[in-house]
């Protein structure tokens, strides 16, 4: 019956890492050299949290490979004039010519010095997909690192479309670049717009479905009824950007309407800074001798250093301290005698003393009774006092969690929200213990993103050590290196290898446009800009201005899959082998990103299931060619040996290193990496090469669940979580203010206000209204709607808008094809489903099809995913509107961490009838 539709070909094991929830291990069926079909890798059952299932995106990989719109030959621009309306005049060239062109530009840049006259790197590299493209770049990162300083600050959407405040503070507080509930044990989750069913990948979906099946409750606060709200116990349509009000009110319930004894007193007392005493200037009171923070010991009835043995620290004060010092910014010191001192917990209580549920109701549209009920349900479900044994160790069992979504946990108010929701956990002792809120991975506090525990070291004042960018007079970076000045202006971003990605990428664009950073020289565009798997012309904000700026860049090299809105401005196009056509070994398992907590860890191979189409080349080959042309083979090979491909090729007991003075093809590189990786994984018992991985796909070993939780390590090291009080952050902010003001810089003053030891509640609606008035010169009353966006599982991070299958599938999920509006509100405005409407923000307008629905607030419109393509084949014909052009990009929209939100106030106008 199905002779042709059911052929059996060979199955090749590989992975999909199109989004941060990957890699998803899969098999590709290949018939006569043609990839035809994708399936989960069923061998992973029992090892993977979702039994090896794969998300919807990998099913698009076949079309992604054979898409007739692919660029399959190197090309160069012949029209020197760049512009949205200019025809680039592409002509096909040979690889030799293309690589020579690129190498020549790079050589010239190198001859002039890797930094330009402003001290900015002449080479810049931009990618998207939350850095997952690095998992497709083969050995190219070794080329970049061998090059020297390269600028990654010219963003494609990171810091606008990410969980930025959670990244910053999450890592500081509990080594949590992203956070997640311990879903397999959690009973009660309060979610403020966390869209786990779209953003959490296969493992997120599966773990939450399992949890629902055993009775876990999830309360979804969100302005629209998302795919996650759909499967939640309750949907509460909160007014946009008022999440912090509800969170503060819940803290009020727990701290002012609940006796302290009902909270987790031992956790607060022994594992947080709650008992530390705070001085009149807002810094900890310290012992004059040891300079250690003081707490009040109820046994001796006096203030003692926090680490004094045999004490019983008081949680609530205030107390009168005989003698103490405070240490402020720049070592400014105050001596105190007989000073009254509240505890850090007293200060946190005071912060929310007037933030009652009744107060929050008026702001958030959430009834006070609902807020109070949910706060109390959270407390009841926390099972304070109970324990559970995990792999032989008894740990607290606290099955409750609060989670935040994007645009709740970044930009203005992000600090407020992440502080408040982490405090919810702290009050009931549900941080980094079974059932509670956990971290996943790290990017700021270390390079060992596969094992966040390796980054934990004792630091000052009983907390974990953290790599802030220095703000002291001696060490502060006075002259910004990268174009977003992350070392100079965002101390929380740190300065490790990946830190650049978390600086103020918006500021880089604003500075290039001459719209910010007046005291510093206006940066020049990079001499050479590499772009790969990203499309800032669509994915950034105020995209028209981004296009104008890109047109000024002198030399853009695009690793180009197809023509798109960013490629349109490029000079040379290099077609790289795509997902099913190239090789790379990758770590899997352990704890990684959202809900990727595995019981195994190991390595998996992405391999060429089919030959690259046309002249597309594996990234490692391209890296090799460039390194050779630039005479950098030795540095490049050395970086591979050093471990840039995932694991050092030489260790104390093994040596698989490559000869540095000659070229190695990708097979040699990955064979060595496979061997080093398996040596490391098996403790030298097995050394498995590339051929083994080609056949078997992956290699794992058990990973203890005890390693999911940070608490035991904190306990062993005698460390405290740095909550509730943010003394270091406060001091750092004051120092940064001093440094900037010494340079005469005042344009960052608004951001400096955010460096508070406890975040005073901010009215984000008012902040945005003021921005419309001040920065856009418009009347906020003219923009009565919030325009929001939401992630789509079919598209998130996938760079797959041109994949027809995704179009077809996404049409089954409401809202992808237009602008979602509340039905009642729309009809009030004379708008019917299918009508064309114009969505107008203070900076731009877009048109789209009105899609009417009950599950959305009347004061909100929603545009799912990122559309608005005008060049990308297939996508441009969809005429789906995107929110990004509408989002105003200005200095005032940035928070202290340099992040902004991808939302805006808008007005709506009906412009056409449904056809």
């Amino acid at each position: 019956m199905h002779a042709k539709t059911k052929p059996h070909g060979k199955k090749v094991s590989t992975y999909c890492y199109q989004c941060v929830n990957g890699p998803d291990l899969l098999t590709v069926e290949v018939i006569d050299g043609v990839a035809t079909r994708i399936e989960p890798n069923f061998d992973l059952r029992g090892e993977h949290p979702a039994d090896g299932k794969i998300c919807v995106k990998p099913f698009g990989l076949i079309q992604k490979t054979y898409n007739p719109n692919r660029i399959l030959h190197p090309m160069k621009r012949t029209n020197p004039k760049k512009g949205k309306d200019e025809d680039p005049g592409w002509v096909q060239i040979s690889w030799d010519e293309a690589l020579d062109l690129v190498a020549e530009r790079l050589k010239k840049a190198r001859e002039k010095g890797v930094l330009d006259e402003n001290g900015n790197p002449r080479l810049a590299f931009t990618t998207g997909g939350a850095a997952t493209p690095f998992k497709y770049m083969g050995s190219f990162p070794a080329f970049l690192v061998a090059w020297g300083p390269f600028d990654q600050s010219i963003g494609a959407g990171g810091t606008v479309k990410c969980y930025h405040s959670e990244h910053m503070f999450g890592e500081l507080w509990h080594r949590a670049f992203t956070v997640l509930p311990d879903t397999p044990s959690c009973d009660y989750i309060i979610s403020f717009g966390n869209n786990i069913n779209a953003s959490g990948g296969v493992t997120g979906v599966r773990r939450h479905a399992d949890a629902r099946a055993r009775g876990m409750k999830r309360i979804q606060f969100e302005p629209h009824l998302s795919v996650t709200g759909a499967t939640s116990s309750e949907w509460i349509p909160i007014r946009p950007q008022t999440d912090s009000a509800v969170l503060y009110a819940m803290l009020h319930v727990l701290m002012h309407e609940t006796p302290l004894e009902r909270l987790d007193v031992p956790f607060l007392r022994d594992y947080t800074s709650s008992p530390y005493l705070v001085g009149p200037n807002g810094f900890y009171l310290r012992d004059p001798e040891s300079r250690k923070p003081l707490l009040w010991d109820l046994r001796s009835n006096r203030a003692v250093p926090y680490d004094t043995e045999g004490t019983e620290p008081a949680l609530l004060g205030p107390f009168r301290v005989e003698e103490a010092i405070e240490v402020g910014p720049d070592e400014e010191t105050w001596n105190h005698r007989n000073v009254e001192a509240p505890t850090a917990l007293d200060k946190a209580r005071a912060l929310v003393s007037d933030k009652s549920p009744e107060w929050a109701e008026g702001i958030s549209d959430v009834p006070a009774a609902t807020i109070r009920r949910i706060a109390n349900e959270f407390l009841e479900h926390a099972r304070i006092g109970e324990t559970v044994e995990i792999d032989g160790r008894v740990l607290p069992y606290r099955p409750v969690a609060t989670v935040l979504g994007k645009s709740v946990n970044n930009g203005w108010g992000g600090y407020d929200c992440v502080w408040a929701h982490t405090m919810m956990q702290v009050l009931v002792g549900a941080l980094e213990v079974p059932g509670g809120l956990l971290g996943s991975t790290v990017h700021l506090s270390g390079d060992t993103d596969w094992d966040r525990m390796l980054t934990v070291e004792p630091g000052e004042d009983g907390f974990m050590k953290h790599p802030f960018n220095p703000t002291s007079k001696e060490e502060w970076e006075r002259h910004p290196v990268n174009r977003h000045a992350e070392q100079s202006i965002t101390p929380m971003a740190g300065h490790n290898q990946g830190a650049q990605l978390f600086g103020a990428t918006t500021l880089a664009w604003l500075r290039l446009q001459g719209r910010a950073g007046q005291n510093w020289p206006r940066p020049k565009p990079p001499d050479v800009w590499f772009v790969y798997k990203c499309n800032p012309a669509i994915s950034f904000s105020e995209t028209e201005k981004i296009c104008e700026e890109m047109a000024q860049f002198p030399f853009i090299v695009a690793f180009a899959y197809q023509m798109d809105e960013t490629v349109h401005f490029a000079d040379v196009l290099l077609p790289e082998a795509t997902d099913l056509e190239s090789d790379q070994l990758l770590r899997i398992g352990g704890t990684h990103y959202f809900e990727n907590h595995w019981v195994t860890e190991g390595w998996a191979l992405r391999q060429a299931a089919v030959e690259p189409l046309g002249e597309a080349k594996d990234f490692s080959w391209i890296a090799n060619q460039l390194a050779r042309r630039l005479g950098m083979l030795e540095q490049y090979n050395s970086m591979i040996n050093f471990g840039v491909c995932g694991v050092p090729l030489q260790g104390e007991e093994y040596d698989f290193s490559l000869a540095v003075d000659r070229e190695h093809d990708q097979e040699e590189v990955w064979d060595a990496v496979c061997k080093a990786a398996t040596f490391e994984l098996t403790g030298g018992k097995e050394v498995l090469g590339l051929d083994w991985f080609r056949e078997h796909g992956f290699k794992t070993r058990p990973f203890s669940r005890l390693h999911w939780y940070l608490f035991p390590l904190m306990q062993d090291m005698g460390l405290r979580f740095e909550l509730p009080y943010q003394e270091r952050y406060y001091r750092m902010g004051r120092e940064l203010a001093n440094r900037l003001h010494e340079e005469g810089i005042h344009w960052w003053d608004r951001q400096l206000e955010e460096y508070e030891p406890l975040p005073e509640w901010r009215d984000i609606n008012r902040i945005y209204d003021e921005m419309i008035e001040r920065d856009c010169g418009a009347n906020p009353a003219d923009f009565p709607f919030w325009a929001l966006t939401a992630r789509s599982m079919q598209y998130a991070w996938g760079a797959n808008v041109s994949v027809q299958l995704m179009t077809e599938l996404s049409e089954n999920v409401f809202g992808h094809d237009g602008v979602v509006m509340n039905r009642g509100k729309a009809r009030e405005m004379g708008i019917e489903d299918g009508d064309t409407i114009e969505v107008i923000s203070p900076v731009a307008s877009v048109t789209g099809t009105a899609r009417l629905r009950e599950g959305i607030r009347p004061d909100v419109v929603l545009m799912v995913a990122q559309f608005g393509q005008w060049k990308t084949p297939h996508a441009r014909e969809l005429k789906r509107p995107g929110i990004n052009p509408l989002v105003p990009m200005n200095l005032d929209s940035l928070d202290a961490g340099g992040a902004m939100k991808d939302l805006t106030k808008v007005k709506i106008r009906r412009v056409g009838e449904a056809s």
Binding site: M1, H2, K4, T36, N67, V205, R212, F814, R853
Partner: protein
């Protein structure tokens, strides 16, 4: 006796369309032909609105309305309950498409592909001329079931013997098995959970069951 049935747990389904995609891969259906898909349903009114995802497709009815209207006897039924279409007998009249209460049938009269009239290599390899101009629908992957059984495997348990959509479901919402076996995975689910059949009032006795606890638990 065996009767193969599908069970969809609506408390688990998140509407991600992974099953839709897997079905298209498994069965090489052309664009816009979705033997399996998940529909996105909303009910109630703001602010008391609700949203639900429901996998749909051929329900493999015990008393299939499509079969009784088929003038060419192309639509048939196997002993194990799977409703079939013999493409060689089908005359493409479309009566079955109208008769099916579940809108599960498709007809494609002319080849069309993801990017226009020309197939990509992956589409060319798997294109089946026999499906042009005839009714088509979900087969419960009867070929996988049959081949699996021949190899001693258990449909619904062993991936090689199980429909592609079930294999792919990331929420573990879809199950497939023999309802006549009281110890089977599907029998146990139907014993333990609350369920319904779509358009039960039509008495088609579908081979597709929906687990549903009635919606939100509000306290």
């Amino acid at each position: 006796m065996t009767r193969w049935v599908m069970v969809a747990d609506l408390n688990r389904c998140v509407g991600c369309q992974t099953c839709t995609a897997a079905c298209k891969h498994t069965n090489a259906t052309l664009p816009q032909v979705q033997w399996r898909k998940v529909i996105d349903i909303e009910w109630g009114s703001y602010p008391d609105a609700h949203r639900l995802f429901m996998p749909v497709g051929c329900q493999h009815c015990a008393d299939p309305p499509c079969m009784s209207v088929c003038p060419s006897t192309a639509t048939g039924q196997r002993e194990d309950g799977i409703v079939t279409i013999d493409y060689d007998l089908c005359i493409g009249c479309g009566y079955c498409m109208v008769a099916c209460p579940y809108q599960a049938r498709y007809k494609v009269t002319r080849p069309h592909f993801a990017y226009g009239d020309e197939p990509m290599p992956s589409e060319a390899v798997r294109f089946d001329e026999g499906r042009m101009g005839v009714a088509q629908k979900c087969t419960f992957c009867s070929d996988r079931v049959d081949e699996g059984l021949a190899r001693g495997l258990t449909p619904g348990i062993d991936p090689e013997a199980t429909p592609g959509c079930v294999n792919a479901c990331i929420a573990d919402a879809l199950s497939f098995g023999d309802i006549e076996d009281e110890n089977s995975n599907v029998s146990r689910l139907l014993e333990e959970k609350t369920w319904f059949q779509m358009h039960g009032e039509l008495e088609t006795e579908t081979g597709f069951y929906y687990l549903w606890d009635g919606g939100k638990q509000e306290e």
